[in-house]
């Protein structure tokens, strides 16, 4: 009689996980990789050409300042610019968190019934497609009546940034929640899972990659919303963000300072994107195609 194979341990497969490396090694590996060095070289060359061009053509700084002058201005005005950076960052962060929470909650509400989704989704689209520049003055006007000084502007800017940031979350999360594998749905149906259990153990994890995709878009949009709204609001006072600095610098023809503020805005945007990408890779590293390292 043949021996039934069940008693035998299966042949161990070699795991396709990358070898364990320390954080330091990983960082060194990343910094020395072509993905990091190549853009760096391009950037440095571009800055050099820019600097040389400005020097050779003798362009006045109020038309185009050289990168060295921009850096000097950044250091000189660091105090004011950094304060503005923090304020813009606060507006972005609060709007982003509000967008994430409201976006996920609304998505979960949407999938409870096709009718709810059909009835309300068009209005989410309307909110998204209306240019924020056009409705920001209205929002600021209304908020002035509701929120007392000195938080009025802050609240208004947060709302504007939130309106811009929440749509990608809703759109992506709703798609994710609706994209659950039908076989897995059957498994849950078979074991009589409650609606709540299906949401927690099946739909939310299945929607995670979609949600994280929305998160990356939303993070950048929150910053853009915060900056654009501040341009419109044209606020002054102690709580001025980076947009205000850019605006004032341009009025006063302090173009190097304008570039410095612009640089800070860009750096903030990049930091937001990189952090969200890292978060996404961390959450998906064990199972999702997008985050798995393969040796082919």
């Amino acid at each position: 009689m043949t021996k039934f194979s069940l008693d035998l341990a299966p042949i161990p497969i070699t795991k396709s996980l990358p070898a364990q490396t320390s954080l330091g090694e990983k960082l060194v590996k990343q910094v020395t990789s072509i993905d990091f060095i190549a853009p760096l070289v391009v950037g440095v060359i571009a800055l050099l050409i820019w600097e040389v061009l400005v020097k050779v053509t003798n362009l006045p700084p109020f038309l185009l300042p050289g990168p060295i002058l921009v850096l000097q201005t950044l250091i000189k005005d660091w105090g004011e610019l950094f304060t503005s950076l923090i304020i813009t960052f606060q507006i972005t962060l609060v709007a982003f968190i509000a967008a994430v929470i409201s976006g996920v909650l609304i998505s979960v509400l949407f999938i409870q019934s096709k009718w709810v989704e059909r009835s309300f989704f068009p209005y989410a689209v309307v909110l998204q497609t209306t240019p924020i520049v056009a409705i920001a003055p209205l929002i600021i006007l209304w908020i002035r009546r509701i929120v007392p000084e000195p938080n009025t502007t802050f609240a208004a800017l947060v709302i504007c940034a939130w309106i811009v940031a929440f749509f990608p979350i809703i759109s992506n999360t709703t798609l994710g929640l609706n994209s659950v594998d039908h076989n897995l749905r059957n498994v849950f149906q078979l074991y009589r899972a409650s609606k709540w259990q299906t949401l927690i153990y099946l739909q939310l994890p299945a929607a995670l990659p979609y949600f994280l995709g929305g998160l990356k878009i939303s993070g950048g949009l929150a910053l853009i919303g915060a900056v654009v709204a501040e341009f419109v609001a044209g606020t002054g006072g102690a709580k001025a963000g980076l947009a205000y600095q850019i605006l004032m610098a341009s009025y006063n023809l302090q173009i190097p300072r304008m570039f410095a503020a612009l640089l800070l805005t860009t750096i903030l945007g990049v930091i937001i994107f990189v952090s969200l990408t890292a978060l996404s890779d961390f959450l998906l590293k064990n199972w999702h195609e997008s985050a798995i390292e393969r040796e082919n």
Binding site: M1, F4, L6, A9, N183, V187, Y201, L202, W287, I292
Partner: protein
Amino acid sequence: MSSPVPYSKPKSTAIALNHVSKIYANGTVALQDMNLAIEDGQFVSLVGASGCGKSTALRLIAGLGQMSEGSITWGDHQPQKELAFVFQEPSLLPWATVIENVRLPLKLAGMKDRDSRSQVQEVLHLVGLDSFAQAYPRELSGGMKMRVSIARALVTKPKILLMDEPFGALDEMTRAKLNADVLHLWQQGDGNGDRYTVVFVTHNIYEAVYLSQRVVIMAPRPGRVVGEVAIEAPYPRTEEFRTSRISNEYCREISGRLAAAGAGTEYYDEQINTR
């Protein structure tokens, strides 16, 4: 047609389908007037070409979907508690480890992880995956994923095991191995001397003959039962049985009946393709 069962002991009926039909909204008759009584502890296979309603019948038994006509009656069982289903695909949660996947049915039943640990370990051992408890599905081969799926089905200690072409996507060697494993599990039973009642859907005649006590033959358009063959070979069935003369004769008989029942199917297929 009546089927002689290689058991002298009278058995009670586990599942009975009475004039069960399933008609889809677009008018497709997936299953027409199916009658089938399955006894406690029996291993029954449903074979037939695609569209013969074999999977539909299984899903109706599992309560996945509404039947259009007829009824399903149960023996002493509480069908929803004592029934397990192995799907065509492994259908595992990709974000969960093997142990979490196997634990899922118990978790959904409200059992705490601490209380279900020994039960989960036991089935993992049964399917030979103890050392892979912490692996993710993507790290496993197709055959191993299917084992996890079987472990998940067995963890609730079901009385009735429904399997829907579980090995259809596997290579021949892995399929043979898992066939032997399934028979072994079935013969072991639930540990109290009771065998599972297994309803096994397949389009592979050899597999059906090797595994089953009864092979129910079905034909498409409309999906219906056209006959039945009792496989009167003793268990345990070995690898030699698979290629034995007896097994071959059963296969020939079933395949002949399938061909007879399916006369005209080619014609229909052509019609559909040229449409």
